[in-house]
Symmetry: C2
Subunit: 372 residues, 2 copies
Amino acid sequence: MWNTFENKIAWFQMKGGFKMNLLKDTVKSISPIDVHWYSIAQKRLDNLTKPPGSLGRLEEFAKRFVAITGISMPSLDKKVIFTFAGDHGVAEEGVSAYPREVTGQMVLNFLNGGAGINVLARHAGAEVVVVDIGVDHDFNSVDKLISKKIMKGTKNMRRGPAMTRDEAEKCIEAGIELANEYAERGYRIFATGDMGIANTTPSSAIAAVFTGRPVSEVTGRGTGIGDDALRNKIKVIEDALSANRPDPFDPVDVLSKVGGAEIGGIAGLIIGASAKRIPVVIDGFISTAGALIASSLEPKTKDYMFAAHNSVEVGHKAMLDKMGLRPILDLDLRLGEGTGAALAILMIDAGLKIYTEMATFGEAGVSEGIRE
Amino acid sequence: MWNTFENKIAWFQMKGGFKMNLLKDTVKSISPIDVHWYSIAQKRLDNLTKPPGSLGRLEEFAKRFVAITGISMPSLDKKVIFTFAGDHGVAEEGVSAYPREVTGQMVLNFLNGGAGINVLARHAGAEVVVVDIGVDHDFNSVDKLISKKIMKGTKNMRRGPAMTRDEAEKCIEAGIELANEYAERGYRIFATGDMGIANTTPSSAIAAVFTGRPVSEVTGRGTGIGDDALRNKIKVIEDALSANRPDPFDPVDVLSKVGGAEIGGIAGLIIGASAKRIPVVIDGFISTAGALIASSLEPKTKDYMFAAHNSVEVGHKAMLDKMGLRPILDLDLRLGEGTGAALAILMIDAGLKIYTEMATFGEAGVSEGIRE
């Protein structure tokens, strides 16, 4: 017995010692959704005082939420949106309408409560957690800012890999750590958000890699660049793909070569949420790039995702289609930060309230329909 | 002088005496929107810490709200959804999956807070006002029910007019009275809703009259009827249109011949809201039939409308297109009651909060973009 145990320890230490591999272990721990909850939830929905199915997608949201969490009468009392911020070396190629220092300035705006995400998160009753995962600025110890800094901005992907493979894994693990921490603290729904000047550029690169579409079909105007800058942006992305040759069957390779720190953090958050059976609302274009990384690492993560909205950004639909996700809203948004996710939370919450608060036919004394 | 004044009095009395014509006078008092507010609102929106236009339709909602109300920094503290209930003689033709008594039963469910509209109105922070405008049931003095009863159900429109012209005008005026009362009480936004077994049938008839489309293209499954019942429903509507020959250039004629009491009330509420410069959120298929009546009486009412959502009901899109309205949500809803409007209020409110609560570039110390 002793001998066997010692052998196991030796084998374990050889494999990397007592240090767990957080990314691999978390991915491995993701289970499929318990589908028997769908029929339980459907039965309740059909007994509420409305024609069956007449609340459409609200009913779908409730059913999925119940099946994901295994909670029979769920309520959304604790909601959190993670806004991951990072800088991008590729910004020096003139791919954005805004100067690079805006990333750090906007982080401070988030912490002061004045940005779009703050307003919409308050509206949705959700907290905003701002995560510095790769901003090229020293915030020192700013109050409320979560520091998971893996780097001070990526390198320019046009010239070589945006980051090392080790950094890419660390970005994903930062997201997993946050998911684990907030799951522990009793949050019932997570949402993703991003801030990073130039980050539609790596996101379009990731979209091109995973959808197989030409760069020009998945590259848009981001914060609002003109025609010349758009042509340049497409060329920059094409150059980055040629220079780096990311392997679509190795998502960490893709993230390291043409990704970004915040995109890695978002991917990690989704993986962590899935492992903890917590629904995760995917914001817009950049968040969906993170979702592509996550779903390529483990396709079961898709079952835990809600796609918040259909972004104006060209290529977003192709990314959602690739994962088979139908967006909840279509409001011509293209801000990011988690703003679309905040609005989508309001709709998911509406579905849960329908599910838990509506009267049944029996309770209300209402005659049921004629089933043909 | 005396003489002239007496002449005027005589002329006035000849024209109908001191009794005002509420419908005609209210329609006449609707002004166009003060468009100079659009540029004032646009200036503020473009100075908020986000790329110009990046919050898409949320920005549009804010701009329209400001222009409609003329309030420079609006807030949605008082919101109300009017759920008009009425019965329909045409229900005896087997056009619905539910028995007629459900209208009255659902009115009681609304008053007890157990219906879909109650749940979603609470979610949106809106009050629900339940209006009996034509239910075939004596509620006596049920608490909280607003009685504006014009009739106890319409007549079967397959056999003749659903109501008299005088009743149709009274239904519209009931809606105007409610709009006036709630405007006086300081409500900032109105929304419409409906309850009435069989009421997709008159709504489809109204859609056919105003869009000019064949009945089969604007008639759907309502609460969920099967193929045979749908064929019968189409035939019933075609018969009603042949029997009554409603005049598309006389909206009151259309309402009286193939309409319903709740549809008239909704039309009146929209007219009253427009006259008082209060934004009005149009729910789904039945509410949009009311909106067609209102906009045919006075096209300027369209400027005061927000179309809540794109209903599953066939023909809804044709009605919205006819008025040039783009729906806010698309969630496969087909319940009515005002449920889609409640959800849309949350999105309009989001737009107003963005407008009033976000920091400007100057306030937040964020660098502005490069304008190309």
